[in-house]
């Protein structure tokens, strides 16, 4: 199958006519006349100054990211020197009770294990809930929705992204958690209790499950809007070809659209994961904030962001504070990797098409 690529327009010798703004906007190089006009001016110094100023603004973004990395590394040195990489996977075992002590600021035992576990469990739970819904919404909005409904519906899904996370947290704490406590959790224990992932040892309704649900609601809009963008980037000829072979609409969507867009959809999901990993306030309010590891999804736990939010301002010792900064450093590195990977995947699919192709 010949690959369809939009070739970059070559720099034109004469200035692009004003009647073709789209072609002009895509041209990578300013035209020769522009170069001539720029070179001719008598304001070379002020122009140079302006350019330097703008470059400095752009460079400040590098500086900020480097500064974040540097400060986090410097401030977490104490913990790194004391426990090294072990900080992330071992725990101090109490010699008397033989129970693991993960996080004990009073006696100075610190391990990030329960927080990493909590972050991973709640994030993957939220992906499990959000991905089918988000892809469903994207399919509906791009392929099935009547034109009249498309704009308001997509506006409403985008609106979900504009709600601050503190308001999600408030709603989850006062509406979702009581609902879970009274109806959903007992039901889950009764029907799925045999699997070991749901037990009734925690009567509060807080925990991994509650934070998974609220995270799912929060990452839905980003996954669905990116999935829509990627699906829109699939050329119409693909859809028409599959339809012409006698496919139903679903078969057209499956083989013509989703299969072509799958890399970008994976990118969108990973971007959602990045958002879920770093989400703080809503999770802090509903996860329960106990530094423990439980198999049950209904148990209380804690997450990396949550423990920083809870303890940083009142850290009892330098070691305590540096342990928290080290968790922040881990979060920073992981989200950078996750986001960069996701950007590459989305970019691989949507490059060459303007973002509002439709």
């Amino acid at each position: 199958m010949p690959e369809i690529r939009i070739s970059q327009p070559v720099p034109q010798p004469e200035p692009a006519p004003a009647s073709e703004p789209a072609a002009a906007a895509l041209a990578p190089e300013p035209s020769t006349i522009r170069r001539f006009l720029l070179a001719r001016g008598n304001s070379a110094f002020s122009d140079y100054l302006f350019k330097v100023l703008m470059v400095l603004c752009a460079l400040s973004i590098f500086v900020i990211v480097l500064l974040i990395g540097y400060e986090l590394v410097v401030q977490s040195r104490l913990t790194w020197v004391q426990s090294g990489i072990k900080f992330f996977y071992t725990a101090f075992v109490d010699p008397d009770t033989h129970l693991p002590q993960y996080w004990d600021p009073v006696n100075g035992h610190f391990s990030a294990l329960p927080f990493i576990y909590g972050t991973l469990v709640s994030s993957f739970l939220s992906l499990l809930l959000a991905v089918p819904l988000a892809v469903g919404v994207a399919v509906f909005l791009t392929e099935m929705c009547p034109g009249l409904l498309r704009a308001p519906l997509s506006f409403l899904t985008e609106l979900l992204a504009a709600i601050p996370s503190i308001i999600y947290g408030l709603w989850a704490l006062f509406v979702l958690v009581p609902l879970l406590r009274q109806y959903v959790n007992p039901l889950l224990v009764k029907t799925l209790g045999w699997s070991g992932f749901f037990d009734d040892s925690n009567p509060t309704g807080l925990g991994y499950f509650a934070s998974g649900i609220i995270l799912a609601i929060m990452i839905l809009p980003i996954i669905s809007s990116l999935t829509r963008e990627v699906m829109t980037a699939v050329p119409h000829s693909q859809r028409e070809a599959v339809l012409a072979l006698g496919a139903t609409r679903w078969e057209m969507i499956r083989t013509g659209v989703l299969r072509n867009a799958r890399i970008g959809i994976v990118g969108a999901i990973i971007l959602g994961l990045g958002r879920a990993l770093g989400e703080t306030m809503a999770v802090t309010m509903v996860i329960g904030n106990t530094p423990e590891i439980h198999r049950s999804l209904l148990a209380n736990g804690s997450s990396m962001a949550a423990v920083i939010a809870n303890e940083f301002a009142e850290a009892t010792s330098d070691l305590h504070r540096s342990a928290l900064v080290e968790i922040a450093l881990a979060l920073f590195i992981v989200t950078i990797i996750v986001n960069a990977f996701a950007q590459l995947l989305v970019w691989a699919v949507t490059r060459g098409t303007p973002s509002q192709a439709r």
């Binding site: 122009d47 819904l133 308001i167 006062f174 301002a313 979060l331």
Partner: protein, 296 residues
């Protein structure tokens, strides 16, 4: 036989098609539902606890009824003004660099990528960094350093605004046709002047919308303020002292054991949402009058 098998198969395919359509509609309803429920609760719980005291009083002492969030509303205003002062110029400047000077260069690609990375950095990490940069170090001859302050909170929020402003400025400037720039240059206008008062001006509705999006995102941020601005139960507008902020105060009230304070938290959440929506739509309304729409 073969014909009937075909018929069954095609009916099966049609049924699958309908099933998937139904599932997609169901998914859409399931996504819209939380939005409706959250907004419903906000209005229902928030409006019933709003009164004049909310806008005129500072929080009541521990355990007492009443009190408001006047200081938190003003504090949020101070923090957001400082954040915009930091985030908007740097964001627009780097956007101008990306669109006007750096098109196609390696440096521009690197800046774009770094901006996306910065956009994905969790807000709590930004809070830790602002703490390490401004709150922790003690340098006696510099102001603002060494203690919790409104300044540190504003810086944290301002940094978070930069990537959004930068990328939307770039996108909007790319839509301005070259002919406009060339026309200005041909009239003898210096390049910096033509960029600022022709190119940026033409794209200004889009740029302002981008700034408002960044503003709205930052307005609801709580995590970066937890250990920078810290919150304050009293009146304060000084940049050098801890300051109250609406989202912080909502968090504090939501975690308190008193029912009365929970109602204040709901009222605060309603006010926060309304202020965000108002600010965004007001600026869009003001800037949409008398400017060229569509910009190309």
């Amino acid at each position: 036989m073969a014909a009937s098998a075909m018929a069954i198969r095609s009916r099966l395919r049609a049924a699958t098609d309908h099933l998937v359509t139904a599932l997609a509609i169901l998914a859409t309803i399931l996504v819209i539902a939380p939005l409706a429920v959250i907004f419903g609760y906000l209005v229902y719980k928030g409006a019933s606890s709003l009164n004049l005291n909310f806008f005129t009083k500072v929080p009541a002492p521990e355990g007492e009824l009443g009190g408001g969030m006047a200081n938190a509303i003003v504090g949020s205003g101070v923090l957001l003004a400082l954040a915009s002062l930091i985030g908007v110029p740097i964001g627009i400047g780097s956007g101008i660099y990306l669109a006007e000077f750096g098109r196609g260069t390696k440096l521009a690609n690197a800046v774009r990528f770094t901006a996306d990375v910065l956009n994905g950095v969790p807000s709590i990490v930004m809070g830790v960094t602002a703490y390490a940069l401004i709150v922790a170090p003690h340098v006696s001859f510099l102001p603002f350093l060494g203690h919790f302050s409104a300044f540190s909170g504003g810086v944290a929020l301002g940094i978070m605004m930069i990537p959004t402003v930068c990328r939307s400025t770039e996108e909007m400037l790319l839509m301005v046709p070259h002919a406009v720039r060339e026309a200005a240059l041909g009239l003898g206008v210096p390049n910096w002047r033509s960029t600022l008062s022709i190119t940026v001006r033409t794209a200004s509705p889009g740029i302002i919308t981008g700034c408002m999006l960044a503003f709205a995102r930052v307005a609801g941020e709580t995590a970066p303020l937890l250990f920078t601005a810290l919150g304050n139960q009293f009146w304060s507008t000084s940049l050098n002292e801890p300051i109250a902020a609406l989202p912080l105060q909502i968090y504090i009230y939501a975690n308190s054991p008193y029912d009365d304070q929970h109602r204040l938290a709901w009222a605060g959440a309603l006010v926060l949402i309304v202020l965000i929506v108002l600010a965004v739509s007001l600026v869009r309304w003001v800037t949409s009058r008398g400017t060229l729409k569509g910009s190309s």
